[in-house]
């Protein structure tokens, strides 16, 4: 019996795009496109099953082996540092993690900088690498509000097009790093499904 390859996909545009790459590589599962509330989609013939999870949860499913492989943004890998194989950069879902603030922001090095973010780990690492003292305000959404209301000086967040920032009179101050979607694998699953995962990796990393 062929072993099923379990794939965790992030809900949303990125996951849908990633699914297309899997389908093109021969791991399709037509039932996934039906509009229903099912959580798991299987194609026994192709030996693959997919499930949709919250993007920030993909790495958790893979790390604990509920999924063998998954598609996840580099931001999540850097933030949660899951113990998984980071097999390749898929070159899609490109954006960047950046520091943004009000247009008239001026950094006063005499006091600690107030930063709002949902990426606590990335923010800490970045500011400690440049030796800047900070206070972190952990938020879960609408990060842009923090500097507008004067709660923090800046934000550290994902910037895709910059439209949201512009509409709120904010701008990118520094880019911390570029981000894109990565193919990750569970370290134990890799040992038992090496061939399948290697083939998939080769197919998915064929960048056009």
């Amino acid at each position: 019996m062929k072993k099923m390859l379990k794939v965790a996909l992030p809900k949303g545009r990125l996951g849908e795009k990633a699914y297309k790459m899997f389908a093109d590589a021969g791991y399709d599962c037509p039932s996934i496109l039906e509009n229903n509330r099912k959580l798991i989609f299987e194609n026994e013939e192709a030996g693959v099953s997919f499930f949709w999870v919250k993007p920030s949860d993909v790495a958790i499913y893979v790390e604990h082996g509920a999924a063998d492989i998954g598609i996840v943004g580099k931001d999540i890998l850097l933030e949660y540092e899951p113990d998984v194989f980071d097999l390749c950069d898929l070159g899609m879902g490109k954006c960047r993690v950046a520091v943004a603030g009000k247009k008239d922001f001026h950094d006063n090095p005499e006091r600690s900088l107030k930063v709002a973010t949902k990426f606590v780990n990335i923010t800490k690492n970045y500011y400690s690498s440049i030796g800047r003292n900070i206070e972190i305000f952990k938020l879960n959404g609408s990060i842009e509000l923090a500097p507008i209301l004067g709660m923090t000086d800046v934000i550290v967040d994902i910037v895709e097009t910059g439209t949201t920032l512009k509409e709120n009179n904010l701008e990118v101050i520094t880019e911390i790093m570029p981000i894109s979607a990565h193919l990750i694998a569970n370290k134990a699953s890799y040992r038992f499904k090496t061939e399948d995962i290697d083939i998939l990796k080769r197919e998915l990393s064929k960048k056009d």
């Binding site: 082996g65 194989f85 980071d86 097999l87 390749c88 569970n186 134990a188 040992r191 038992f192």
Partner: protein
């Protein structure tokens, strides 16, 4: 009747195995001087240690690791062959709280030659197989893998292509993630030639047999290591052994082969080991050392839940006014106990545990409910 849990059964079988190979059980105290761990901090997989003051004010720690204590206590000039089955105290990966973690391990300290190395790998292989067979078999089938890496091979390659000290840690980190692209980028930034960068990157992607290693060889040293890997693989003679360089341990402690064991059904390595001669050198001891540890908590965490019953049979009684009645109930219960069943006797109307069968006892006859 099954008394032992699967992990108890495994511990029992493995102790027998290690004893047969001449390893003696090493019992030790749960405490160690805190300073000792600070000195060898990087050897530990955890940086968090539970510490407390002894009555004289000195700082003690609950052991987060056993190997260090064994290495410290190993007498010089003789071969120490020991195994242990102890609890260690570490931060749990999942809940980020301190946990008591059962751990078993084998250590060989002294003159560890290629024969001793093969013997340890054999024990590691048998241990992983035992775990797979006893606790993770499905329909009689199970899968496991013993993956071997070599710190000397990695180090030789990095030195040959002049990877700077600053970039080494990053390369090792990416190697552990099988991130070949990441390694290419680091090497490029470090001024490593294209050929070198590609070889180091393909080290990350390598998973297979020593036979495929020769394109990665760069000098006499790497040739020698491939020979060593050939010897251990052929000695083990198991299809479940792979060479995989994503297993990286700290180079300041580990110098030769390092290895990890995996069992299908457990999402992370259940065994970890290697040659840690550099640690002995740091302790000022003139000896080599090799050993491995098994993370027994994973067996319970990821194994089958086991039986869904608290007992096989519950015998219910109404009232027990006379000695005869008590004796009669006892007799009925013992009849089943002697036949290998777990029996609970309970008063009718009480909240009952889960059992496969409930029997009502009314003096003479037993009614099956």
């Amino acid at each position: 009747m099954k008394i032992f849990t699967e992990s108890e059964e495994i511990i029992y079988k493995l102790r027998e195995l290690y004893e047969k190979y001449g390893y003696r059980r090493f019992k030790m105290s749960k405490f160690e001087e805190y300073d000792f761990y600070m000195e060898y901090k990087k050897f530990l997989t955890t940086q968090n240690i539970i510490s407390f003051n002894d009555l004289d004010g000195s700082l003690l720690a609950l052991k987060p690791d056993i190997t260090l204590s064994i290495a410290k206590n190993a007498p010089e000039g003789e071969n120490t062959k020991v195994y242990y089955n102890e609890n260690v105290y570490r931060v749990s990966h999942n809940i980020h709280e301190y946990k008591e973690i059962p751990q078993m391990g084998v250590e060989y300290i002294g003159d560890v030659d290629i024969f001793a190395e093969c013997e340890l790998l054999r024990l590691a292989h048998e241990s992983v197989q035992e775990i797979a067979k006893t606790a993770f078999a499905k329909g009689g089938e199970y899968a496991y893998s013993l993956d071997i890496s070599h710190m000397g091979f990695i180090s030789a390659l990095l030195s040959h292509y002049g990877v700077s000290d600053g970039a080494r840690a990053d390369v090792l980190e990416r190697l552990g993630k099988k991130d070949g692209e990441g390694i290419l980028k680091i090497c490029e930034g470090d001024g490593v030639c294209k050929e070198g960068a590609e070889k180091i990157a393909s080290l990350a992607e390598f998973h297979g047999s020593y036979r495929e290693l020769s394109p990665l060889s760069v000098n006499e040293e790497t040739e020698k290591i491939i020979k060593e890997l050939e010897t251990v693989t052929n000695t083990l003679g198991s299809k479940m052994v792979h060479i995989d360089f994503s297993i990286v341990n700290d180079m300041s402690y580990y110098n030769g082969i390092v290895f990890q064991g995996f069992v299908e059904g457990i999402p992370r390595n259940v065994l970890s080991g290697g040659r840690y001669g550099n640690l002995l050198a740091k302790m000022g001891k003139n000896a080599s050392a090799c050993g491995f540890a098994l993370y027994l908590d994973l067996i319970e965490l990821y194994g089958e839940a086991g039986e869904h019953f608290d007992a096989d049979i519950i015998i219910l009684y109404n009232d027990v006014e006379t000695t005869e009645k008590i004796k009669a109930i006892e007799e009925a219960a013992n009849f089943y106990r002697e036949n290998g069943f777990r029996v609970i006797v309970a008063k009718k109307g009480a909240l009952l545990p889960k059992a496969k069968k409930i029997i009502e006892f009314d003096g003479e006859k037993e009614v099956l409910v």
